[in-house]
Amino acid sequence: MKALVIGWDCATPELVFNKFLDELPNFRKLLKNATYGRMESCDPPITIPAWMVMATSINPGKLGIYGFRHRKNNSYTDIWISNSLKFKNVPKVWDILGKYGKKSCIIGLPPTYPPLPLNGCMISCFITPDATKDYTYPVELKKEIEKEIGEYIFDVPFRTDEKDELVKNLWEMTQRRHELVKYLIQNKEWDLFWFVEIGLDRVQHAFWRYFDEQHHLHEPNSPYKNVIRDYYKLLDKNLGELLDLIDDDTAIFIVSDHGAKRMKGAFCINEWLIRNKWLVLKEEPREIVSIGKADVDWSKTKAWGWGGYYARIFFNVKGREENGIIPKEEYEKMRKKLAEEIRKAKDDKGNVMNTKVFTPEELYPECNGDPPDLMVYFDDLYWRSAGTIGHGRVHLEKNDTGPDDAVHAKHGIFVKYPADEKRIEASIYDFAPTLLHTLGIEIPKHMEGKVIK
């Protein structure tokens, strides 16, 4: 048996299984012979690391990836960007299949730049600097792609107010990628074909307010009201065309790394830390600046934070950070204290939020790489974290790094076809074992999930 895995980044169970289902004829038809349901993502439920957790059935701590960026050598400002080399010796499903002589074709799965050798072919993800780079394995594949579809589009700048332009770019990127997928499905040998369409994540972040009446910035009857629905319809149309190319001996999976929900606002973590005496500035900034550019008094600062869909908090520890002040023996006590205080943080209306605070050690049996000291989901992720300073307040109604209407929800989707029609609840850790099982390959013992039956 072979497998085609269709990755719809950010596909949201409430939308595909309910709200838009009637308008997605191909998807609906597929569900009649499918095992499907919500798939719980990892912690944190973010594109990087979630796709890699799906491809390995290994937790982010063991993989050593906690997001797009990480601190370099406990620096206050230096970062490294997630990339494939950081876990190149970790077996991804295509590495395991390769050992059995099976061929894989992997497209756009983050983070796969730089593309590493495999038995098959690969096109890297949106972490690729640009299309002038060697973004394929084997290298010659790039020429073939350009001949077939022109310049490959990795991503679109989606945090923009130029919404018409964004719609045009999203449709163009998605159509081009699907044309390429159709070409490769027919022209390459493969046992596993797995591609990820990032456009769905972008369209939901950029247009959520126009269709969700509960969104605090909802604009009724906006011309963009149906953009998200229409994008799902575009995916559905392409799904139908892909199904026409597939033989009966191919299992089809449709999966997402996490879901989406409305953003209630941005919580300025560093503004809050300043007000609560954890972070001290030498001078108030005159404009909005990132923490890296702020005039921080490190001799008095105990903790600072990063923005993102979840907040990462770092402590200024003696002997670890350059100007660390928290003695090592007080570190655990301080972590507990700050975690308690953050759990009591209030929203813009003065209500205590449903905020979740974790230490990486609580979430993962081992913590490789550069983990933060605390991980925070403000109001169960409804409030994103803003890292910038100089707003003069803690709560923002909009994102600080450009327009963004949605945040991440913990559950994405899982669909397997053909299978008995039944609703299930899956875990992202179950995906790799289920895929290997479907392809008749023994499941390695290190995998953390189970086979979905």
Partner: protein, 78 residues
């Protein structure tokens, strides 16, 4: 170990002992490897990749700035 039909210049011939070739032939029976060459290429690539230095950088300095700029434009960095 020749791949006659391949484009000239992109492939070269390497000699391996016949018993080893026989062993590989047996090893790949019933797998997706359709030739000794494809198996040997796969194994060598794996080996070389694992031998490359751990600290190899993914991005040159210039590329790192480029990708940070793009991630900033995407709103992932503040």
């Amino acid at each position: 170990m020749t791949e006659g039909k391949e484009e000239k210049g992109k492939y070269t011939t390497v000699s391996i002992p016949t018993p080893l070739a026989e062993k590989i032939k047996k090893r790949i029976e019933g797998t997706g490897f359709n030739s000794i060459s494809s198996y040997v290429t796969y194994v060598l690539r794996e080996l070389l990749a694992s031998m490359e230095e751990e600290e190899e950088e993914a991005f040159s300095k210039e590329d790192e700035e480029k990708i940070k700029e793009r991630l900033r434009a995407l709103g992932y960095l503040d």
